[in-house]
């Protein structure tokens, strides 16, 4: 049994209470939700918080709610809830694509969207999902509530704009007509961190051309979306050539590092390959075509 260094523990009862506890215990305190990132780090004694503030009783942060042109998701919403939500799937199919390949059911039953985004692991899938969907993060602190685009929220590997006395409370996903999205990941084994993954969201114009698009990459050394690909895609009609060009741009934009999961050239190749796949699938979905089975055919 791996045993963490000594720490104190307290359960917050409300968001206000959690914020007060954060203020009281200072920067050596950590919020714990699902605990699937923090607890392993603590057991290895790589993370040694003095206080854990448990927010699992904050049911007020566990919701999925349609509110006008936004889908609002509470930060404490579990991966399983996101995976199983038909409404989320209908509006943002990328979420189910991603949730199906996030860890395993045991982790998904506990892990939360807020925890995932705040951990900001470079191999974490929901950061990419939220980035390509143009999500807005709602953060509360002593000074009240503020909203941040994912670009402003995500500051790089393991870094977010959430201050030590703040709490991520909600994620808002803007709902757009004629839009769809997709996600695909390569992993060495179910539950392993991604070797690489890509997500895409597209909005089609009435004439079937691409009105707006976003492409994001996971674990490939790119924090936000591939702006060059979005620029290329806008105004063009979906085609294999266009997806291939976008894939090339994604491969150029990424900056992966070699590790046990693969060397740089392979990861760059994945940026290209997976970008093409998710764009193909997102465009087909936006045009109302049913998903084709994942094709193991030679491509490109």
């Amino acid at each position: 049994m791996q045993i963490p260094a000594p720490f104190d523990y307290v359960r917050a009862t409300t968001v206000e209470d959690a914020l007060e506890l954060l203020a009281r215990h200072g920067p050596e305190s950590r919020i714990i939700a699902g605990g699937h990132s923090l607890l392993p780090m603590m057991k290895l004694r790589l993370s040694r918080p003095e206080w854990l503030i448990d927010i699992n009783d904050l049911f007020e942060l566990d919701f999925i709610l349609r509110d006008g042109e936004d889908l609002r998701i509470g930060a404490l919403t579990r991966h399983t809830t996101l995976l199983e939500s038909d409404e989320v799937h209908r509006l943002f199919p990328i979420v189910r694509d991603a949730e199906l390949v996030i860890a395993d059911p045991v982790v998904r039953n506990r892990g939360t969207i807020g925890g995932s985004l705040c951990q900001a692991d470079p191999a974490e899938d929901l950061s990419t999902v939220c980035a390509v969907l143009g999500a807005i993060a709602v953060v509360r602190g002593p000074g009240g509530e503020r909203t941040l685009s994912m670009h402003d929220f995500h500051r790089g590997p393991y870094q977010t704009a959430v201050g030590p006395d703040e709490l991520l409370c909600e994620v808002r996903l803007p709902i757009r007509a004629r839009s769809a999205s997709a996600y695909e990941k390569v992993e060495r084994r179910v539950g392993d961190w991604a070797v690489g993954a890509a997500g895409a969201s597209v909005t089609l114009a009435e004439d079937g051309s691409i009105a707006d698009a976003a492409v994001g990459l996971t674990a490939l050394g790119l924090d936000h979306t591939v702006e060059e690909a979005a620029g290329l895609l806008r105004g063009k009609r979906p085609s294999e050539e266009l997806f291939a060009d976008a894939g090339r741009l994604a491969a150029e934009a990424c900056d992966p590092v070699a590790d046990q999961r693969g060397p740089v050239d392979y990861k760059r190749h994945l940026a290209d390959e997976l970008t093409r796949r998710v764009l193909r699938r997102a465009c087909a979905r936006a045009a109302g075509h049913p998903d084709q089975p994942a094709t193991p055919t030679q491509e490109g």
């Binding site: 049994m1 060495r188 046990q260 994945l270 796949r277």
Partner: protein, 797 residues
């Protein structure tokens, strides 16, 4: 010979319909496991028990400059801190390994691998023990590490074992089998010679339960009770007597329920010795239980063989000879658990299932700055490496000759009439019908149809691969005159007592780690005596309660202890015959046996059941001259030869050409383990081994960086397969009993682990044939498969 009679399980069947003897019955041990009532090492709590924790080296190679334990000792809950210096005083700083080497219990001079044991803290609870580790100050003088085995024999390589007098290099042994000159001559005259280097990477058995011990030394009577996660309790008792100087009769080893062993729990780890020292020093029981990272980083690894293979054949596909040179990385201490005369285990079975004219292998073992071990992970003493070599080489040859790999194998098999078959490296294969097993697997797979499907897919650019492997295992060591571990002959004992009411207890020297011994061995007694398995208690894992024997590894429990149990039951049966004759007032030679009773020949109504006889044996009957008043017996079984299970495996994979992802779509496993005692248990063993094979072929590897850091120290980094990576296993069987074994059984525990990796790799290589790929090394991760597709396949080490 035993009649094979498999009755399907029928949960609705009453007792009368259940098989008494061999057959598909549910495991007797499972009710306690499925109800959470198993009793594992970490469940043991003794009064006054303290907890130990090991401080481990953060670097791979470093001189130990100083250790300061002052602050740790000042911790209010710490009872003792033990260092290498303390052990030197007790002459326990170094302990003998199972391979005629020594291993540091705690570092005294220098660290030789990352994760090596440096100090041991004994504290009130496990939390305090872990906290106190951080209070020990150690100063290291870091040395350049030796990580690459290929560099181990270079003149400028760091010398790992500089404490050994006269040692100037890292060579542990050179070992050869077969006739080099004869082999070279056959190669020189062959039409076709192909060679291939292949790496079987370092992997780890990773049992679900990590290793641990609870030592309870009684200072009054001097008796040590040591609860251990061990596959070999009796061998451990003898070794502890030798190492610790405690008289053997004052040592009791108890191996409770074991959560998986796979060879990981054969050796004696420093933690076990430290728990004993901790108990002696504090006068209280001490528990030590390693965590997952400790298990992965410091306990017995497996494989780590770099093999250069060569195969010679005629141009029409008759295989003539095989030869190989192997570089074996044994880590910092030679601590492999294997028979004394076999430094490379049973690797010389690399001639496989083929009738060859010549064969030769040379294995060089070297030290590196890595954890010791080497024979583990269900490898049957290196048969995994041997089978991988020959089965990959045959596929490499098939490609060269443009022959179907099934056809090439069928053409070269040892034929049924050639058994017993003496191969070119000194083994005598007991029995086999290889073609029948091969054809059965091809039939189950629909081999011709699969090849047609592959052609269609290739035309569309899809990558489908079909891989074959035909393995011959060699298990069941002894015979004791040839095979020993640190001088202890590899025989096993069994004791059987039939109680007055006809219920029985059988005591074994082997220890189950999940294989279902409590069921299998009860079924063997049941088959021989006709006592229902549920009326037979199987006792194992406690040296005070069981006869001596070498334990469970190398698939030896059924071949060796199974023989012992069958023979002890027959001994009881013969004794029962004498008693029955007295009861029936007739001569023993006039009696005939049917399962469960002796009766008078020609008069079946005049008979006595085993229950009747048991009561009479313990009762008032006047017993014949020389017959004791019980129905008990004991034997030690020394097998006359090893047994040679075999099997034919076919794997079907799909490879995603865009990402290199491998999907194992189908796996067909036909096993022949001789007589089948409980088919359900056999299938369970096969399923587990096949899953191991998927793990090794696709994802498992313990890697090291250039500084000697272990990169596989957690389950985040060391991947083992899940249900999501494996297909529905399709199993089949043939039955070719061993002619020399009392019940014709050959053993099954490791067959699938041995046989499956080459089938999977052969399938991946076959899938990649359109890219001109003729070989790739494990693990076939997406990145490595993609590199192979680009023509850049590289060895993993």
């Amino acid at each position: 010979m035993t009649v094979i009679h498999e009755r399907e399980s029928n949960p609705a069947a009453g007792d009368a319909d259940r098989p008494i003897g061999y057959g598909r019955i549910q495991r007797k041990e499972d009710p306690r496991f499925v109800r959470g009532k198993g009793h594992y090492l970490d469940d043991i709590v003794l009064p006054g028990m303290l907890h130990g924790a090991v401080l481990r080296a953060p670097v791979a190679h470093a001189r130990l400059v100083s250790i300061d334990t002052t602050n740790a000792l000042a911790h209010p809950k710490v009872h003792a801190v033990i260092t290498g210096k303390d052990l030197e005083g007790l002459k326990l700083a170094w302990a003998p390994t199972l391979s005629a080497d020594v291993q540091a219990v705690l570092v005294t001079d220098k660290v030789r691998f990352q994760g090596q044991e440096v100090a041991f803290v004994v504290a009130e609870d496990r939390y305090a023990a872990r906290d106190a580790l951080e209070l020990i100050d150690v100063e290291y003088d870091v040395l350049p590490p030796l990580v690459d085995a290929r560099r181990a024999l270079d003149a400028d390589a760091p010398l790992i074992r500089d404490e050994m007098e006269g040692r100037t290099d890292n060579r542990i042994f050179d070992w050869e089998m077969g006739d080099a000159a004869e082999t070279d001559a056959v190669f020189a005259g062959a039409d076709v010679v192909v060679s291939q280097e292949m790496v079987y990477p370092r992997v780890h058995p990773a049992p679900m339960e990590t290793c641990g011990a609870v030592a309870d030394f009684d200072p009054v009577d001097g008796k040590l009770t040591l609860y251990e996660t061990t596959q070999a309790p009796h061998a451990h008792r003898t070794l502890f007597a030798i190492v610790a100087g405690i008289p053997e009769h004052k040592i009791r080893i108890v191996s409770p329920d074991i959560g998986g062993g796979f060879g990981n729990k054969v050796g004696i780890y420093p933690g076990y010795i430290l728990a004993v020292v901790g108990s002696i020093v504090t006068g209280r029981p001490v528990k030590w239980m390693e965590d997952r990272s400790e298990n992965l980083m410091s306990t017995s690894f497996a494989r780590d063989y770099i093999m250069q293979g060569e195969i010679a054949a005629t141009k029409d596909g008759k295989i003539l000879a095989l030869r190989t040179n192997v570089l074996a990385d044994h880590g910092a201490f030679n601590a492999t658990a294997q028979p004394t005369k076999n430094p490379a285990g049973f690797f010389s079975i690399f001639t496989g299932s083929y009738d060859l004219q010549a064969a030769h292998c040379k294995v060089t073992g070297v030290y590196t700055n890595k954890a010791p071990g080497g024979v583990a992970y269900a490898c049957s003493f290196r048969v995994t490496e041997a089978v991988y070599l020959v089965e990959r080489m045959v596929d490499v040859l098939a490609r060269k000759l443009e022959m179907d790999p099934a056809e090439l194998r069928l053409k070269n098999f040892i034929k049924p009439e050639q058994f017993p078959y003496a191969n070119k490296t000194g083994w005598v294969y007991d029995s086999g019908n290889y073609e029948a097993a091969m054809r059965r697997s091809m039939e189950l797979a629909g081999y011709e149809e699969l090849r047609r499907e592959q052609q269609e897919k290739r035309a569309k650019g899809e990558l489908m691969g079909i891989g074959l492997s035909f393995f011959t295992e060699v298990v069941g060591a002894g015979p004791r005159k040839h095979f020993d571990i640190v001088g202890l002959g590899m025989a096993d004992g069994a004791e059987l007592r039939v109680h007055p009411t006809g219920k029985a207890v059988v005591r074994l020297s082997v220890q189950s780690q999940g294989q279902g011994h409590e069921t299998t061995f009860a079924q063997i007694v049941a088959e021989e005596l006709g006592i229902p398995p549920e009326n037979i208690d199987v006792v194992h894992g406690d040296t005070d309660q069981t006869p001596f024997g070498l334990g469970t590894y190398g698939s030896r429990s059924t071949p060796v202890s199974g023989g012992a149990v069958a023979l002890v039951a027959r001994k009881v049966r013969e004794k029962a015959k004498l008693i029955a004759a007295a009861m029936l007032e007739t001569r023993p030679e006039d009696l005939e046996w049917e399962k469960g009773r002796w009766f008078v020949k020609g008069d079946p109504t005049a008979g006595k059941t085993i229950e009747d006889i048991a009561m009479a044996a313990h009762g008032t009957l006047t017993l014949p001259e020389g017959v004791d008043g019980n129905l008990d017996a004991e034997v030690t079984y020394d097998p006359p030869n090893l047994t040679f299970p075999f099997g034919a495996y076919i794997c079907v994979v799909d490879v995603d050409p865009g990402t290199g992802r491998v999907l194992v779509r189908r796996f067909i496993a036909v096993d022949d383990c001789g007589t089948r005692i409980n088919p359900m248990i056999i299938e369970g063993q096969v399923h587990g081994g096949l899953t191991d094979g998927v793990g090794m072929a696709l994802m498992e590897i313990i890697e090291f960086d250039a500084d000697g850091n272990n990169l596989g120290g957690s389950f985040m980094d060391y991947l083992i397969p899940t249900a999501m990576e494996v297909p529905d296993w399709e199993t089949g069987f043939t039955v070719t009993p061993s002619p020399h074994h009392p019940i014709g059984a050959k053993g099954i525990g490791e067959s699938a682990t041995v046989g499956s990796p080459p089938a999977i790799v052969n399938a991946v290589v076959d899938a990649l044939a359109p890219f001109g790929v003729t070989h790739m090394d494990m693990p076939c991760t997406p990145a490595r498969v993609w590199a192979a597709m680009q023509g850049r396949a590289t060895p993993p080490i």
